[in-house]
Symmetry: C2
Subunit: 94 residues, 2 copies
Amino acid sequence: MTSFRFVVSVMPKEAILDPQGRAVEQSLPHLGVTTASGVRVGRRVELTLEAAGETEARETVERLAHELFSNPLIETASVELVDATSSIATDGRP
Amino acid sequence: MTSFRFVVSVMPKEAILDPQGRAVEQSLPHLGVTTASGVRVGRRVELTLEAAGETEARETVERLAHELFSNPLIETASVELVDATSSIATDGRP
């Protein structure tokens, strides 16, 4: 078995109003930042999955990304593999 | 001037309990996923900054990441440049 570490990025869709992003954008001038635009606030979920292979692990994470981590009506979710660690040592040591 | 698009990732520190991550982890078996672990839920902020150069833009975003987007006591923030677009056409066309 291998441990796969994934990052799921969930962002509001382009056409969707992002109240959090707007609130941030409006507060920026008070911090002296007047050249910022297009602020969008979303979620970042990290998780580890044990699986026999990457395809199997990715399928599970893709399903979770769209069923649990995001609302497909108003958000987009993308999945990225960031680490894979085999639980059996490959150098012959136990 | 150049437009720099940044992604700021804000995650709860390792040592900090992450109630949202725990709630997700506990709901996974109900979705048939029993091999997940280490679920952490954080934020992803995207924004564009107009600046003369990348160093200047990055300095501003780093400051915002630590002053506005995250609470340094309990969260870590990392900044990534994902796109840079010059507002002056380089092919000679206006």
